[in-house]
């Protein structure tokens, strides 16, 4: 028997946002639609809406990040929440405090939402299982497992450019094995019914049974991007050379680096995406990264709106649950 989905309350509303697995197509579309509404906030003179006024959001970053942390911070501030950002990678845990103790201490400060980034798969689930009722957990990346707001901002970006998912061919290139971003994208693309999803990587950067993730596997970049509508490049960590996963950055770029020339087999209007930060000359050359088909910076802007949508949905669910409690 599968365990109940702890992300949802008993009405099926979003309480935590941990993974895109197990969320319905309707819910994903609801998040995308809500994101559209928040895009305009950034263009207002006063970039704020009062949806989370009086709420406290704690960003718990057990692993360093710049982009994700700052966009979450901005998203919370634009929703009028009070924001606390803790870079725990360098503090409590090095003093031997357990994750649960760190959590209990912050809970004592009456935080309403935790945004968590952690180096281990399952960390966000663990925290969601142990927070007090009434507190939401948003996964900002756990190990290799999931990075659901990144997955959704990628889906949002694709939808803005391409519309209907069912007619699209999406190619994801690079280190699938270690990528929480790829796992979230694959889960979302499966649920949204993308026409064809491909993963392109050497065998060393693919998980066991890669087809089980709902994608066709390619080892040749030109073949893999042929007629693609969307090409998503993943970041390659330098550690992969040391772990005997790859011989060199040079050979990787020769085979899997995206250039204008290799992009020629894709559809003429194909878009190129990357979750950032880019290793120029490793995953792709600058010509592509800065070229007309690149939507990489747009992804960053969309990230704020997606994170606002998810936070607003979770806080909305908690408010509703609190009202039900008050009537009981």
């Amino acid at each position: 028997m599968p365990p109940p989905n702890i992300q949802l309350d008993d009405q099926g509303h979003l309480k935590h946002f941990l993974t895109l697995e197990g969320l319905s197509r309707e819910l994903l579309i609801k998040i995308l639609d809500k994101t559209e509404g928040f895009l305009g906030v950034a263009r207002q003179a006063v970039k704020k809406v009062p949806l989370c006024r009086g709420k406290t959001v704690a960003n718990l970053f057990f692993e360093t990040s710049t982009r994700t942390r700052t966009t979450f911070e901005l998203a919370a501030k634009r929703l009028s929440a009070d924001v606390l950002t803790l870079n725990i990678a360098a503090s409590s845990t090095s003093k031997g405090e357990t994750l649960l103790d760190t959590l209990r201490n912050l809970e004592a400060m009456h935080v309403d939402m935790f945004v968590v980034r952690h180096a281990e798969s399952g960390a966000a689930h663990f925290i969601a299982q142990h927070v007090a009722p009434g507190v939401s957990v948003i996964n900002a990346g756990d190990g290799r497992h999931s990075h659901p707001t990144q997955g959704m901002l990628d889906m949002f970006t694709i939808r803005r450019h391409k519309g209907d998912f069912s007619r699209l061919t999406v190619a994801i290139v690079g280190d699938i094995l270690h990528s929480r971003v790829a796992r979230s994208q694959l889960a979302a693309l499966r649920t949204l019914g993308a026409g064809e999803v491909r993963i392109i990587a050497p065998r060393t950067l693919l998980p066991a049974e890669p087809e089980s993730l709902g994608a066709r596997v390619f080892h040749d970049l030109r073949e893999g991007v042929r007629d693609a509508d969307v090409v998503i490049m993943l970041r390659l960590q330098r550690e992969r050379m040391r772990g005997a996963m790859l011989p060199s950055e040079h050979e990787y770029f020769q085979l899997f680096g995206l250039t204008e020339e290799r992009l020629a087999t894709a559809k003429p209007d194909a878009i190129v995406m990357h979750p950032g930060p880019i290793n120029r000359g490793v995953e792709m050359d600058s010509q592509v990264a800065d070229g007309p088909r690149s939507v990489i910076l747009e992804q960053v802007s969309n990230g704020i709106a997606v994170r606002m949508a998810v936070m607003a949905l979770c806080i909305g669910t908690q408010n509703r649950l609190a009202q039900v409690d008050a009537h009981d």
């Binding site: 994750l99 281990e120 663990f126 890669p210």
Partner: protein, 464 residues
């Protein structure tokens, strides 16, 4: 074939006399606190299942002086002090568990010899073998004797310490195996620690073979295991958990089988987890290599799918593998290719499982679920009851080379009487182990121990 100074061949096969007699090894490890007198007992109207003697019948059993006195009719004039009515129940040898961590010495916050042997008795287990990875490690007679002495004081189960195969389990220098054997270590074992240098492994097996000592190996290649925490497959791919490939087991197994063949050592493989390992084991046995194997009971029930939702109680080592692997393990237990089923008991304090999945400690507390898990297999038609009982009695007894798991007259009266129909729930009211780390917490089971007897003494009696 190697020759010893005595000119007798090293004994690769079980049952052959060791090349060098080691003198006063106690035929039975101490079980019961000295000074107590075991009374006379009759167990009546039960279904007696004694696989070692091919018995499965409604037969009474009579006990005197800590030993089985008679099976069937009581000897003329026998007047028992107590009669146990086992109507509707199964009477069988007490279970023998080849791998149970008691956590003492060194990790008493997880369990103690007293707490865990009490749990064993409640689970019908009368003898258990504890791996040498205690702190300090069982590589000196003092540690082995500390364990057997403490177990004797607790008086709940016979504890057979496994001696470290290498000094400090470091895989570099041989342990004093002959001395450890004399201190009560029936087998030598490397626990979960690797021996990277194959020459050291070869020498360790040769040296063990010199004395006819059985070597227990848990085959795992540390490089292929790496930082893995789940079976490398469909589920680990989706959950993003670092995987442990089948090859981590099969590569190590292939090496160890060849070294066993080379040295003539009697080698037992612990906790095989995948179908490909079973193929290798069967092929080796067909070649006449003296090897045997066991599986952990939970590997016959759970699969990788049970990790869903990052259930840290299913963080186990070796990892839960596919349903196909589980089915192959079941079949191997049925045919006897795998001759023993263990609990692989690993109690933990609650905090050990309260962390993100990869940081949690692997292992489950399992002494008290060994019997009900086997009975689930019986209910599912995988095993018949006598076969299930054989895998936890006569099977492991043969591997340890100790006169246990046998209810012939004259044998120690180590018995388990259980009610196969009794329903119970795993929870604080029923659980004795200090470790509550089990994925079966809160589950309902059928089959519960009524009495456990150790050397004719009742060491566990179910409260009604």
């Amino acid at each position: 074939m190697t020759e010893t100074t005595l000119g007798t061949p090293a004994g690769p096969a079980p049952g052959l006399a060791p090349s060098i007699a080691l003198g006063n090894l106690p035929s039975l490890p101490p079980g019961i606190a000295s000074g107590e007198v075991a009374g006379r007992l009759s167990i009546r109207h039960g279904r007696l299942i004694d696989p070692a003697n091919g018995i499965d019948a409604l037969l009474d059993l009579h006990i005197a002086d800590g030993k089985v006195l008679a099976v069937g009719e009581a000897p003329a004039g026998f007047a028992p002090d107590r009669v146990l009515d086992a109507t509707g129940q199964v009477v069988c040898p007490g279970f023998i568990d080849l791998c149970a961590r008691l956590r003492e010495p060194g990790q008493e916050h997880k369990g103690t010899i007293a707490s865990e042997t009490a749990a064993a008795a409640a689970g019908g287990i009368t003898s258990l073998c504890c791996p040498p990875d205690t702190a300090p490690i069982i590589d000196t007679p003092a540690v082995a004797q500390l364990i057997t002495r403490t177990a004797k004081q607790a008086g709940k189960a016979r504890v057979v310490p496994a001696g470290a195969l290498t000094h400090g389990l470091a895989g570099e220098q041989l342990s004093e195996m002959a001395t450890l054997r004399q201190a009560g270590c029936a087998v030598m074992c490397q626990a979960e620690r690797p021996i990277i240098n194959t020459q050291v492994l070869r020498r360790a097996m040769e040296y063990a073979a010199t004395f006819g000592l059985t070597v227990i190996m848990r085959p795992e290649n540390p490089f292929l295991r790496d930082n893995g925490c789940a079976h490398e497959g469909r589920i680990s791919a989706r959950l993003g958990l670092p995987g442990i490939p089948e090859a981590a087991e099969t590569v190590a197994l292939a090496r160890d089988l060849e070294v066993a063949k080379q040295t003539g050592a009697r080698v037992h493989f612990r906790a095989l987890s995948c179908a490909r390992s079973l193929e290798k084991l069967a092929a080796a046995q067909a070649r006449g290599i003296a090897v045997s194997a066991d599986v952990s009971a939970h590997q016959l029930i759970l699969t990788e799918d049970d990790l869903e939702g990052f259930n840290s109680q299913c963080h186990l080592n070796p990892p839960l593998r596919t349903a196909a692997d589980r089915d192959a393990l079941r079949e191997a237990v049925r045919t006897g290719l795998v001759s023993a089923v263990c609990s692989d008991h690993q109690p933990h304090e609650p905090d050990a499982k309260l962390a993100p999945f990869p940081s949690t400690a692997p292992g489950m507390a399992a002494l008290e679920t060994l019997l009900p898990l086997l009975l689930r297999l019986v209910a599912a038609g995988v095993l018949d009851l006598p076969t299930a009982i054989a895998r936890v009695t006569s099977g492991p007894a043969a591997i340890l080379g100790l006169p246990l798991g046998n209810l012939a007259p004259g044998q120690a009266a180590d018995l388990c009487v259980f009610d196969p129909e009794a329903k119970w729930r795993v929870g604080p009211k029923t659980w004795l182990s200090q470790g509550r780390n089990t994925p079966f917490w809160g589950e309902r089971f059928k089959g519960r121990v009524t009495w456990t007897l150790l050397g004719g003494q009742i060491v566990h009696e179910r409260r009604r």
